[in-house]
């Protein structure tokens, strides 16, 4: 079913929040990557083993969710879009 306006608005906000975090905390040099919603974060090295801990902490705090070991699978962290879907799923 098509998402209503409010849902789309909150989804955009979530994505933007995640993007801003990645730009300020995970990317040392933002000229390298054009950070679209679908850019592959793991393949491109934006998320690495040093950065993922701070990303998890940020998501938990900012979206008031608890991330468990079972959530730590590549599919959830592939792109800004999948992280955003994962966050809304956890917030339900």
């Amino acid at each position: 079913m098509e998402k209503n306006l409010m849902e789309r608005g909150s989804e955009m906000l979530t994505r933007e929040t995640i993007r801003q975090f990645i730009l300020s905390e995970l990317i040392s040099d933002d000229s390298r990557v054009d950070l679209t919603d679908t850019v592959q974060l793991i393949d491109s090295g934006v998320i690495d083993s040093f950065g993922i801990m701070s990303l998890l902490g940020f998501l938990e705090e900012n979206f008031s969710i608890q991330i468990s070991g079972d959530d730590l699978v590549p599919e959830n962290f592939a792109s800004i879009s999948t992280i955003s879907d994962f966050v809304s799923q956890k917030s339900c």
Binding site: S28, I42, G45, S49, I52, M53, E61, G69, P74
Partner: protein, 535 residues
């Protein structure tokens, strides 16, 4: 002069005795000792053919893969010095390192070549690039120089003659340095030998071992992985980024590779514990675990030790400038609680430590001083920086004609049982009311309280007026915690002048990727807030 030892000669014995034994693998691609020898010889001859000579520098800029090992050895076999770079580092940092190191060649793969080109364009440098992208299994490898030379197919596979001696530099590692520019630490063949001789004997590493490599090659941590494996004829299993990112993958990798020994950065052990992948009976072959690089919060160590009482855990400490591990502590019993601090242990064989006060005399037993290190691991200094070298590597003030010591900038104290305890960084010294106070000491006192999860201490302007400073403690906790409880408990731990005047609760301590607390962000975020002040 004793027969000069060179790191690449670790290979020789294994190449003749067990050439088919796997030297390095990432789980899917592997190189045997025989292949490693042949491929590294080819790379050495290729480098020599483009003019790389004794003690020239060659930058290695590769993705995390099995290709790194033959490249490292190839550089050493060309009598040159390898400089491992992080291809994901900002262009500016790259540029600075290349300008400082002035490499004669860059070893890249297909993914890193575009980055290298970009950096060279920016820094106005032209350095020949040797691509090792097509290097597979030692037979079909094509090593070519992509900028100025044509494709070269067949390089000699024979071992070159070596011109180096043990005091020549083997590699240069750039340390990040919280302030200022990266500094290139120059490590000799002899520096590594002393360290690895100790490690192989101390951890009883044999050809039967399988060593897990999780450290990036531009970190000093990887010295242990590479050379312990090569000296003992063991297998090095390199976990790629996908494996490191997801704890369940890492456990799977450890089990499939039958890893026996792992020296990991503390945050990765913490991440695994937090990720809920530590299960009784998992990773059965893993016998020894060393954690290093930063302090592992004791509660995570307790997790590990409770689930795996059969494994042995070590806390390893050492700056890049003293090559690998300088002190090491075997955790011989389960810590009594999360408040217990794990010592960093005693100096390894070939290394000595001393604790110096600000007036350059040794501190009294039990008092906090700067950890200084002497011995066979001490680097030759920083490349192109005699000034910083002279201020960090100094003659020991305790002995006339004293040997060189390296001043770590870390603070520690000696425990009654002879073990050292790490306190924090020296540059976090607060000057308050005429006292010199180590922020780390107050933070440690806070952390020893059962309610506190994390803490940071700094000076903040007080409400009494501009320029009047007071000690502020930022703290993170779970649930209801009264500031009065914290303040009362601290009075039993710290002298009056060290007691924080302000206690500011934060939801989450802001930390950089590497774990360092972002004090500026902290102060900025909480400046306007209502202070939870304690009179």
């Amino acid at each position: 002069m004793a027969a000069s030892f060179l790191l690449q000669t670790y290979l020789s014995e294994h190449v003749s005795r067990r050439p088919g034994k796997t030297a390095v693998t990432d789980g899917s691609r592997s190189l045997s000792y025989g292949e490693l020898s042949i491929v590294s010889n080819r790379i050495a001859h290729c480098l020599k053919s483009i003019g790389v000579g004794r003690q020239d520098r060659v930058a290695i800029c590769l993705q995390r893969s099995v290709q790194t090992l033959p490249s490292i050895l190839g550089v050493l076999k060309a009598d040159a010095i390898y400089v491992p770079l992080d291809y994901k580092a900002p262009v500016e940092r790259w540029g600075h390192i290349l300008k400082d190191a002035r490499p004669k060649a860059l070893i890249c793969d297909s993914k890193t070549i575009p980055f290298a080109m970009e950096v060279m364009a920016m820094a106005a440098l032209t350095v020949p690039i040797v691509s090792v992208s097509d290097l597979t299994m030692g037979q079909t490898e094509r090593v070519r120089e992509v900028i100025t030379l044509d494709v070269i197919e067949d390089f000699d596979t024979g071992e070159p003659t070596y011109l180096n001696n043990a005091n020549d530099i083997a590699y240069i590692l750039y340390t990040s340095g919280s302030t200022g520019r990266p500094k290139g630490v120059m490590i000799s063949h002899r520096n590594v030998k002393g360290y690895i001789d100790w490690a192989v004997s101390h951890f009883n590493i044999t050809a039967e071992d399988n060593i897990l490599g999780t450290a990036p090659f531009h970190f000093d941590m990887s010295t242990f992985d590479i050379y312990c494996a090569l000296k003992s004829g063991a297998t090095l299993s390199i976990a790629d980024e996908m494996t490191l990112l997801f704890p369940a993958n890492l456990v799977g990798f450890i089990e499939r590779q039958q890893v026996t020994l792992w020296k990991g950065v503390a945050s990765l052990l913490m991440y695994m514990s937090r990720g809920g992948v530590l299960k009784v009976g998992a990773m059965p072959t893993l016998r020894q675990v060393l954690f290093a690089g930063e302090t592992l919060p004791t509660k995570y160590l307790i997790d590990w030790m409770t689930i795996y009482p059969e494994k042995t855990f070590y806390n390893a400490y050492g700056p890049t400038e003293a090559t690998g591990v300088s002190t090491c502590y075997r955790v011989d019993r389960l810590p009594a609680g999360a408040h217990v601090r794990i010592p960093i242990g005693m100096p390894r064989h070939g290394t000595r430590t001393l604790l110096l006060a600000d007036n350059q005399t040794e501190v009294l037993l039990g008092k906090v001083g700067e950890i200084c290190i002497a011995g066979d691991g001490l680097a030759k200094g920083y490349l192109n920086d005699p000034e910083k070298t002279a201020s960090a590597f100094v003659p020991s003030p305790l002995i006339r004609d004293g040997e060189k010591i390296y001043k770590t900038g870390d603070l520690g104290r000696l425990l009654p049982d002879g073990n050292l305890e790490y306190i924090g960084r020296k540059d976090r010294q607060l000057k308050f009311m005429g006292y010199r106070i180590e922020a780390g000491e107050i933070e440690q006192a806070l952390l020893s309280l059962p309610w506190i999860k994390d803490s940071a201490v700094d000076l903040l302007e007080s409400k009494l007026g501009p320029g009047i400073l007071e000690i502020a403690a930022f703290w993170e906790a779970e649930g209801e915690v009264e500031v009065q409880m914290i303040s009362a408990a601290l009075k039993n731990l710290l002298p009056g002048y060290m007691l924080p005047k302000r206690f500011i609760r934060v939801e989450k301590m802001p930390r950089c990727d590497r774990g360092k607390i972002k004090l500026d962000a902290l102060k900025k975020n909480y400046q306007g807030h209502e202070w939870k002040q304690h009179g």
